[in-house]
Symmetry: C2
Subunit: 229 residues, 2 copies
């Protein structure tokens, strides 16, 4: 108890209480401020977020849709915990979706967007030169890169699925196991070649490279799991 949860977002931009709780609670879950797998009571949560159980339950239903909490009727809710196996499953989904996103990005990104993407890579290169092995920063940068490619697809359904649903779970896992090594220099090189393909407006190549990029990250992760077992 005490003040375990980072302050509720008091910003009034999100009008309703249910929306604020939804964002705050999602953030708390993703950041691991609430232990994954733990059972939580509605009354406690409502009190903690300074609202009543009505809006809280609405927020919970949305989090349930996003697979961030699991609910069993008349029993309660528990914070979702992503197993390594489930993460591997998501890797396959990412490979398919982001591959398609890269293809469409190569076809539909504006020149300005591509320029911004390359600028991002340059920034990463400099940062990486300094702090070569701090995986965390690279991970956030990695997310940034993928975000931009996804949005570059100009496909709202695709973007919503990836950023709105999948990425929260992935980030949750990254917080759970604090920064597992993820070959930053190699990933960076792959990013660079993806951008080159996009610049060349080569959809086939962009998709292929992105799929290889993600599937090799998956294999790296699977290897890591095998070693730790």
């Amino acid at each position: 108890m005490s003040t375990p949860i980072p302050d509720i977002d008091d910003d009034k931009a999100l009008r309703t209480s249910a929306d604020r709780v939804f964002e705050a609670l999602q953030d708390a879950i993703v950041r691991g401020d609430i232990a994954p797998g733990s059972r939580v009571g509605e009354t406690d949560l409502a009190e903690r977020f300074g609202t009543s159980r009505g809006p809280l339950r609405e927020a919970l239903r949305r989090l349930e849709s996003r697979r961030l909490v699991e609910r069993t009727p008349h029993v309660g809710i528990r914070i979702a915990s992503l197993s390594p196996e489930a993460l591997v499953e998501i890797y396959f989904v990412r490979e398919a979706l982001e591959g398609m996103a890269a293809r469409m990005a190569a076809l539909h990104m504006t020149d300005a967007e591509i320029a911004g993407l390359r600028a991002l890579l340059v920034a990463h290169q400099q940062d990486e030169a300094l702090r070569s092995d701090t995986a965390y920063f690279q991970q956030e940068g990695d997310l940034d890169f993928h975000y931009r490619v996804i949005q570059g697809s100009h496909n709202a359904a695709l973007t919503e699925l990836l950023i709105g649903e999948l990425y929260h779970r992935i980030r949750m896992y990254r917080y759970q196991v604090s920064a597992y090594p993820n070959r930053p220099q190699k990933a960076f090189a792959e990013h660079q070649r993806i951008v080159e393909a996009i610049e060349a407006r080569d959809g086939d190549l962009a998709e292929m490279l992105m799929r290889r990029h993600i599937s090799s990250a998956r294999r790296n992760f699977e290897q890591l799991m095998k070693e730790n077992a």
Copy 2:
């Protein structure tokens, strides 16, 4: 079609009222019993489904997550209507995801599942021989075929995304525009070749064929839209 809303599911298997309303309302939206794009009041809906506004709002939040209703704070909710452009976007997502599903189905489906899949095709062939142009039936059969391949991937994340989220919107569109022609005989031939690839355990081929199958359905749809405009 007489009763305005298909009877609320009185089955007690779904324990809570919010769950029942969620399913019933989703069904009503998908079937078009509530006009797409129409504004609906919470009080009306609650009364219509025989519950109070509390559970109804929880159901609405989940439907909002599935993009079946759109909500603007302090104003109300409106039933989502899927534009042709949005459907095209979803076709691309399907192409990526179902392509991956076909690949994984070729690798992971059990022999029994494959046998069932082929049996389904045989049944389709016979039915289709009789009613060669009734698109509706073929469509439901089409869904059935795709369902099985998706579940054959044995990837829960993939299955949940496709069947749990995307397919409701697709079905909604099929009800909206009553049975647009979708080249049943050609689709059937494509299904057959996909099954052959799965039987051969050829993941690469299965994915390629499935992607072609879906993208050619998309192009067929886009062509149709152009003609009607």
